[in-house]
């Protein structure tokens, strides 16, 4: 391995500087209501017992996220374990546990950034567990008996991590469209969607998703065989008692609030990070030091529009790219929230049946 595995544990951790502070802030704003609601729903009346279980769950998440999983050929790979944690603990619980694990990773071990913590939590502690749990609950209902548990677990892990990777690709890919200096040089992550989406999705669809799915199946089946009451209890906790369902509707509300916030912040971000930031001095400094001198004709030859030939956007102003990415982002989030709502409905149905 080329780098110390301790410090760069996961391909999914976005380090600081890869995304703009404004993007980081947007995700912090999205995550705060999610955290509050999930934390409240997990720890409604703060009994010491719940604190201890939450701590153990977060520590388990932390350890699982750094676990090297064997892959064919004798090498090892990092899973993320978000789907596994969601199926074992329940999605709100997983959100809190994984977020605490990510916070400690960032704060105590310098893994993943502090500014990007909101985005990392959004991908790994929110999208991944809720999508995985929703798929699991939904698939368990529609699949025929027999292999349904295993198939549902596999798909939950596979789709969950792939979707989280897709979110990472979107967050990184939007950076060069939004944030460039006057010479067209990317200020943060330099590659656009045409690179980030295939770069994140192909390995996840082909390898990482499969590993995550298999690990989810193996571990959940292990726990189901040895201590089925833990999995069932977790399902009961989230369905049978009254306040939980109100927390779910609260969650849905917060999701719409978050969407609204994103929609509002998008133009704000444009104003704040666009031309308002003075660029004087930058080129002078670069030219003077020769540190990253860019011949003008190359800089002009390679505007971001040239990177996106398929989108036929050449010549259109920046704002189009911005709005395009905002639309994609909001659409993806809407899809995620719709899936969450589905999971909540299904869970209620399961609870009613039980």
């Amino acid at each position: 391995m080329l780098y110390d595995p301790q410090s760069v544990t996961l391909a999914m951790h976005i380090p600081d500087n890869f995304i703009s502070p404004s993007t980081g802030a947007v995700f912090w704003v999205i995550m705060i209501p999610v955290w509050v609601l999930c934390f409240r729903s997990v720890i409604r009346n703060s009994t010491p017992e719940k604190m201890a279980y939450l701590g153990a769950g977060a520590a388990f998440s932390f350890l699982i996220m750094m676990f090297n999983v064997p892959t064919p050929g004798g090498t090892t790979a990092h899973g993320v374990g978000g789907a596994l944690i969601a199926l074992l603990l329940g999605p709100q619980y997983a959100t809190v546990a994984v977020s605490v694990a990510l916070l400690l990773q960032a704060l105590l071990f310098g893994d993943g950034g502090l500014i990007t913590l909101g985005a990392n939590c959004f991908n790994m502690a929110f999208v991944l567990p809720f999508v995985a749990y929703g798929l699991y609950v939904g698939l368990r209902k529609i699949l025929p008996d027999g292999w349904k548990e295993r198939v549902a677990e596999f798909i939950a892990g596979y789709i969950g991590i792939t979707l989280a990777a897709f979110c990472v690709a979107l967050e990184l890919g939007v950076q060069p469209l939004l944030f460039r200096d006057a010479a067209g040089q990317a200020l943060y992550f330099p590659f656009s969607f045409t690179v980030t989406i295939p770069a994140m999705l192909i390995p996840h669809l082909a390898v990482a998703g499969v590993v995550e799915g298999l690990v989810t199946v193996v571990v959940v089946e292990f726990v189901r065989r040895t201590a089925p009451e833990i999995i069932e209890a977790n399902a009961r906790v989230t369905t049978s008692d009254g306040p939980a369902s109100s927390a779910h509707s609260g969650l849905r509300t917060s999701a719409w609030i978050a969407l609204g916030v994103v929609a509002l912040l998008s133009p704000l971000g444009l104003i704040a990070t666009g031309d308002a930031w003075g660029e004087w001095g930058a080129e002078d400094f670069m030219a003077a030091t020769g540190l990253d001198y860019v011949p003008q004709y190359i800089a002009h030859g390679f505007t971001w529009n040239a990177l996106l030939p398929d989108y036929s956007l050449a010549g259109l102003p920046d704002i189009v790219g911005y709005i395009l990415s905002a639309v994609i982002g909001i659409a993806v989030m809407t899809i995620v929230f719709r899936l969450l709502a589905l999971a909540v409905r299904d869970r209620k149905a399961v609870g009613a049946k039980a």
């Binding site: 292990f222 065989r225 040895t226 201590a227």
Partner: protein
């Protein structure tokens, strides 16, 4: 390999745990010395009991014998062959695998030793790894289950068992590898008198069959029951 005598030979072994956190301060890395010029010889067919107060290094000696730790000074030979970090930590070391088959280690805490979803699979894990034919694996598992009186638990999860039952399973799953040396770290801690009697009987028969046993304990009655040769530490 490993067929020489004596079976276990620790000569002038020193060991110190690296004290956590001390390595980034600029001071010399703090080390907590556990063993200092420790010598131990265990012959084949012998039953040896390590006695001594807590924290004297009994577990460390056992971890060194199992090649989980390596002496900071001195030498450890198993069956006449020196056991070194280089040999054991080589990638996919066959040396390590052969050594691990020769020595069975029963941890002090069985909770963190058992990792299979059922007692049957737990016992079958070792023989399956050894690549024995299915029929032979099954025969061994059945023999061991009868030997340790575990028939009732075959399909139960180790997680569900009581402390004493877990310990019995732990001894059983290690013995299914048919090691030359059984190392047991305070095996009677969580055992009641009945379970202790069963484990002692099996271990005695094991020694009588020519195998070697090394245990650490605080209880003199089990030492007497095993007729073990006593090594005092500290």
């Amino acid at each position: 390999m490993f067929d020489g005598d004596p079976l276990v030979e620790l000569s002038h072994v020193c060991f110190a745990y690296r004290d956590v956190g001390a390595d980034v301060t600029g001071a010399e890395p703090g080390r907590r010395a556990v063993l200092n010029d420790f010598n131990l010889t265990v012959n084949r067919g012998e039953c040896v009991a390590l006695l001594g107060p807590n924290g004297i290094g009994k577990t460390t000696v056992m971890r060194i014998i199992n090649a989980l730790e390596f002496p900071t000074a001195g030498e450890y030979r198993f069956g006449g062959t020196p056991v070194t970090r280089v040999e054991v930590e080589k990638r996919n070391s066959r040396f390590a695998k052969a050594l691990h088959q020769r020595i069975g280690f029963v941890f002090q805490n069985s909770d963190t030793q058992l990792f299979c979803p059922s007692v049957g699979e737990e016992i079958a894990f070792g023989p399956t790894q050894m690549g024995l034919p299915d029929a032979e694996v099954e025969r061994r598992v059945n023999d061991i289950i009868r030997l340790f009186d575990l028939e009732r638990f075959v399909d139960r999860a180790p997680y569900r068992l009581s402390g004493g039952e877990k310990k019995r399973v732990a001894v059983a799953c290690v013995m299914s590898l048919n090691p030359d040396l059984m190392v047991l770290d305070e095996p009677t801690d969580s055992l009641d008198s009945e379970n202790t009697a069963l484990v002692v009987r099996v271990l005695k028969a094991y020694v009588e069959a020519g195998k070697t046993v090394l245990i650490s304990t605080h209880h003199h009655d089990i030492v007497e029951a095993l007729g073990a040769h006593i090594v005092r530490m500290g």
